[in-house]
Symmetry: C2
Subunit: 404 residues, 2 copies
Amino acid sequence: MTVPVSSLEVGRARSSTPRPANLALVLRTVCTADVLPSRADVAAATGMTRATAARLADDLVAGGLLDEVEATPSGRRGRPATPLAPGSRVVALGLQADAGLLAGRVLDLRGRVVGERVEPGDLRGSDPAATLARLGTLAADLLGGLPEGTRVAGAGLALPGIVDGGTGVLLRAPNLGWSDVCPADLLTPRLPGGLDPVPGNEADLAARTVAETAPGRPGPHRDFVYLSGQIGIGGATVLDGRVMCGSSGWAGEMGHVCVDPDGPPCRCGSTGCLEQYAGRDALLAAAGLPRGTAPAELARRAAGGDPAARAAVAGAARALGVALAGVLNVLDVPVVVLGGHLGELAGLLRPALEEHLGRRVLSARWRRPRVEAAPGAPAAGATGAALRALADVVDDPARWLGAH
Amino acid sequence: MTVPVSSLEVGRARSSTPRPANLALVLRTVCTADVLPSRADVAAATGMTRATAARLADDLVAGGLLDEVEATPSGRRGRPATPLAPGSRVVALGLQADAGLLAGRVLDLRGRVVGERVEPGDLRGSDPAATLARLGTLAADLLGGLPEGTRVAGAGLALPGIVDGGTGVLLRAPNLGWSDVCPADLLTPRLPGGLDPVPGNEADLAARTVAETAPGRPGPHRDFVYLSGQIGIGGATVLDGRVMCGSSGWAGEMGHVCVDPDGPPCRCGSTGCLEQYAGRDALLAAAGLPRGTAPAELARRAAGGDPAARAAVAGAARALGVALAGVLNVLDVPVVVLGGHLGELAGLLRPALEEHLGRRVLSARWRRPRVEAAPGAPAAGATGAALRALADVVDDPARWLGAH
DNA sequence: GGATTTTGTTTCGGACTAAAACATAATGCA
DNA sequence: TGCATTATGTTTTAGTCCGAAACAAAATCC
């Protein structure tokens, strides 16, 4: 090679044979289906021949990525079909370290929880090494309790902060008080089999649980904005079913969208950030409640007619309306999903928020933006982390089959 | 099929053979390369065998999608290579109807302009049918002037408004005063060969000219926000090199991001929209200039030290800073590209705007957002529309070869 | 002028799929 | 009970397309 083919880097998807893509297509078809499909159903859905679909399915069954399920008598004529299901012995581990808990959750390819452990505790200002060691022990216990024959496809770790996509370093997690932590170094030695959890932002991963209800299975919305009310406010944008992490993992800092340039100063150095109006502490302060109060208590008071609580919620709704309208105008996303404490207040926020959005979003007269509460599962980030790891398998089953 | 395979719609990329993907890979490799590559270079860049790359390239040459170019003596040892170039006889037509002009531009696969016609004129409040008829005549003339043997791969139409992605109906174009116009009905009958221009938003298509300097050739930035200063302010977001059109084509309404909820009312029904601070009319009014003044005149005055002009620019920079910081915080995009009248003022806006962004964008301390001016080509939307049509060919050359 | 080097082509074998025939296992009906 | 019918899953055969290796072509080097 004498010519300097410098920028000739184009498509890395250089699969010389169609097989990997077709394996992925078959697996994804089974994952997506509402009812467990037979080989013939897969053939019909993908357009392949029954022969081809069956061959591919056979290989996936042999590799454990698909299971043959007992046929239920259908009463229909003809040879009874053998339903296929995503393999139940291929699982992934999702971990989460947050200001208020440590959690681990194991999901199988069908999206079922096959193992779970949650340890509440105040981890603000904790030592990263000690905390991650605890998490490592928790994870090892969890993995040890899995049934014989289970194979762990990968692991992920949800963290409430900004993770550098390239190096996997947690640059800054204000709620934990951590910065420049490399979780892989501290966690991997404690896990069996050299399992290396991929760190990611908690809001991004929680948003994934809305975008994808089980591995390979699209959730209720393809496009939405996810807003996660923690101590601060994080979030994520999902476009075309993909969580947008930004060109370097910084996306989703919705808490620092400006609501009023003349508003109160924010710890980020700017002024009038959304967090100053709808963050947990700001909400509680506006309602005249002490800092540690549970958001549910605020919701109870507002629902009960407490004027200060109602005013706090109304203020938050207005601020959210201003900030989210901007996002919706820029991205044309029809749905806002509220999680964390904002999810708990969703019922109270929705009417005012939807009204604000209806006024400020340009496309609202054609399609009114909707506001929903995220399913209030605890430690959604852990679930999302496991889903992300399983998505690697679903997206390229050939690699998994090759590695046995 | 007795089972209702309702939602079994998964991968439409049902290419049973690897050939279409490999044809696309070869074509894209040639389009992307800095120097015209030989068959052997393509093989090296893609990882295919020389035999395979040559076979695929031969088919693309036979179909006119690649040209064999005269070899320049390189002085190197060995058999001289035959450089390959994107086919120069495959072209696409880009059209644009704007408040100030009608334009048509023909681009070939190499991204060269092989035909162009621009007709200035005030089209505000014009009759859609009459104006589109004029545009059709312009387009037919343009196509008639093409050299013998040229094949038109497709056409696009840039419009300053919101286009429904599904139906291709222009729902609303405030600057033209049009609404609910179906350009295809009015335009296609006037074009030869049943050519059917695909309508699209002008800002989206102008952004494409930044994302893609020639068909299949990535531009200077993969991720950026494009802001188009027309009478109002439109824009587009480019993520991963793809223009984000939103789930129904409404994305990019950056002009109506809220800068100050207590600000002046906007014609959209909201208050304090960016357009009220940095729109063309707002800027001119703030500078004490009459409405029709050219933005260049404002720039001249501000550069010359005129206090009113300087204040107007400073106010616009501040408003842009507030609005864009929100977008950048949500999407983690490192670059803002200014087009239209904002592009003309970019030199004056940049210092203050970058300073505002540095303060309000959370990731700025790690990577400071940059502000750039778009290359000030007239009727960039027409170029983008042609590029979009050519992208269809580059993304799936097999279809083009099949259709002859 | 022959060795060397690089490009492009041809030939052959292998991976994979489509098409069609076949085997299997149920229901429906006399 | 027995046979036609119907749907699923498997086997066989032919065709497409890629990789490997040998070969042909066209230049430079010595």
